[in-house]
């Protein structure tokens, strides 16, 4: 059970819990497809989304999830709040705590910020991305999308391609997929491969993107942040697109049923060529739909139970 717990990362979940969350999420998909997209499960609960980084889709996905469970959702973003007036994270958290929310969904540029807040607040904290640490709901929606296609995760060959070093999505997926028995391989420019990756996660490092895609069931492309051009990690976007971008021809190396995923938003023509984004292997929009269902499942499982 995860009832009454914080969700700070995939690190805390075991395979049984992950399976149960995915199964619950599968049940929630139906709610979003109805005319009346609302169930009363979390009626009267208050959910705050506290976002210190710009994010349209994740914030909206959590907000819709809360609303479709009948919770009241309030959005706080770093601009236009006391956050921008220099209030410390500690003071912001204490202020929120005094307003008695049931859950706080946190996005923050500092790794560990979700744990920092969880240690100081009575509400349940759901990590919606803390720095380069974890983004567990993204990994869960990715796993739900894969499970829908293949009926399982165990034994699947999953290639994660791109800026591993700075990606919380990659970290959460590396942890989660390993727990579910998938075989993860990664490919990235050497400058964007963190040290100790193989030691930290059960994965293999491929010498190039082609090798990673060979026979892969799932290809997960990561978003390349434009600011990576500044720290001398890469020469320019054009070279990245040519050397590390994924094209239709490269996807032919995958398993014939192989799927292409991306956490979004896509830099078209950088990590993915435009035609593969809309191509037959792309499940990018399924990921978005599954995102709402996974977040409904998480909020429901964490807040919906009787107090222990």
């Amino acid at each position: 059970m995860i009832g009454g717990q914080h969700l700070l990362g995939m690190q805390q979940l075991d395979s049984e819990q992950i399976n149960a969350i995915l199964s619950t999420a599968q049940g929630f998909l139906q709610v979003s497809r109805r005319t009346i997209k609302k169930v009363p499960s979390l009626r009267g609960r208050t959910i705050i989304t506290l976002f210190y980084e710009a994010s349209t889709r994740t914030r909206m996905s959590f907000e819709l999830a809360g609303k479709r469970l009948s919770a009241d959702t309030v959005n706080i973003s770093a601009s236009g709040s006391s956050v921008s007036k220099g209030e410390s994270l500690h003071d912001t958290v204490m202020t929120l705590n005094a307003m008695q929310p049931d859950a706080v969904i946190v996005r923050h540029p500092a790794s560990g910020a979700a744990a920092f807040i969880a240690n100081r607040i009575d509400a349940r904290v759901l990590n919606a991305g803390d720095g380069q640490h974890e983004h567990p709901s993204q990994a869960l929606l990715d796993m739900l999308t894969i499970r829908q296609r293949f009926g399982k995760l165990e034994g699947l060959k999953v290639a994660i391609v791109g800026d591993i070093a700075h990606s919380r999505v990659a970290r959460s997926n590396l942890i989660g997929l390993a727990k579910m028995g998938a075989q993860v391989r990664v490919a990235a420019p050497k400058t964007l491969l963190p040290r100790g990756l193989v030691e930290a996660y059960q994965c293999t490092i491929c010498p190039n993107v082609e090798a990673a895609l060979e026979g892969a069931d799932v290809v997960m492309a990561l978003r390349l942040q434009r600011e990576r051009m500044e720290g001398a990690f890469l020469p320019n976007l054009r070279e990245y697109a040519i050397e590390y971008g994924i094209s239709t021809a490269m996807l032919d190396r995958c398993n014939p049923d192989g799927i292409l995923m991306h956490p979004g938003p896509v830099n078209r023509g950088v990590e993915l060529s435009p035609e593969v984004v809309d191509g037959p292997r792309s499940v990018i929009l399924d990921q978005v739909e599954n995102g709402v269902a996974v977040r409904m499942a998480l909020l429901y499982l964490i807040l919906g139970g009787e107090p222990a």
Binding site: M1, G3, G4, A20, S23, T24, Q26, G27, F28, Q30, V31, R34, T35, I36, K38, V39, P40, S41, L69, A297, Y300, L301, G304, G305, E306, P307, A308
Partner: protein, 186 residues
């Protein structure tokens, strides 16, 4: 000691009586039979058969999952099973017969009414239950009852059906097992 209040023959006869009772009620639009997951689901299919025999027309059939409409949440050590609701017909045109195995506090039926209305607006809703064990907590009453019995809150009414893996069809009343506390248990 557990006692059997209905055997296979008894259940069969009870379903016949329920079908008769439903069919005798005023009907606005065609019948649709919706089983409340999970106990009502197999009974709904059997009731559809009986209603087809009586009325000569096969009613539409569906299932309703009420997990997300429960008023009591779920236990701290429980993984709630969020099931699929299947209503493969237009609710607006039909008179819906909600089917459940046991009517007890009435909270499941209240949740089911809430759930069904989120899928559409039926012409009317009727309620058919195999066993009404009394002890209502909400003002809810069934239109068709297979068996009415008196029970204690400490007791458990177990509807066993061959289709769901039991040795034989039967309704058994026994002492509630210790882990089953709270909620709208049967």
């Amino acid at each position: 000691m557990p006692r059997t209040v209905l055997d296979a023959k008894g259940i069969s006869e009870a379903l016949d009586a329920m079908a008769e009772a439903i069919a005798s009620r005023p009907q606005d639009g065609p019948w649709a039979v919706v089983g409340i997951r999970r106990g009502g689901e197999p009974l709904a299919h059997r009731l559809v058969k009986r209603l087809t025999e009586i009325t000569g027309k096969e009613p539409a059939v569906g299932t309703l999952d009420i997990t997300l409409y429960r008023d009591d949440g779920f236990g701290p050590h429980e993984w709630p099973q969020v099931g699929i609701t299947e209503i493969p017909f237009d609710l607006h045109a039909h008179t819906v017969v909600l089917v459940d195995d046991v009517l007890y506090t009435g909270r499941t039926v209240r949740a089911a009414l809430g759930a069904i209305l989120d899928y559409g607006r039926p012409r009317a809703v009727r309620l058919a239950v195999l066993v009404d064990r009394g002890l209502r907590e909400l003002p809810i009453r069934a239109d068709a009852v297979g068996l009415q019995i008196e029970t204690q809150p400490s007791e458990h009414v177990d509807v066993q059906l061959e289709v769901t893996g039991a040795a034989a069809d039967a309704v058994v009343v026994g002492e509630r097992r210790p882990q089953e506390q709270g909620g709208d248990k049967k």
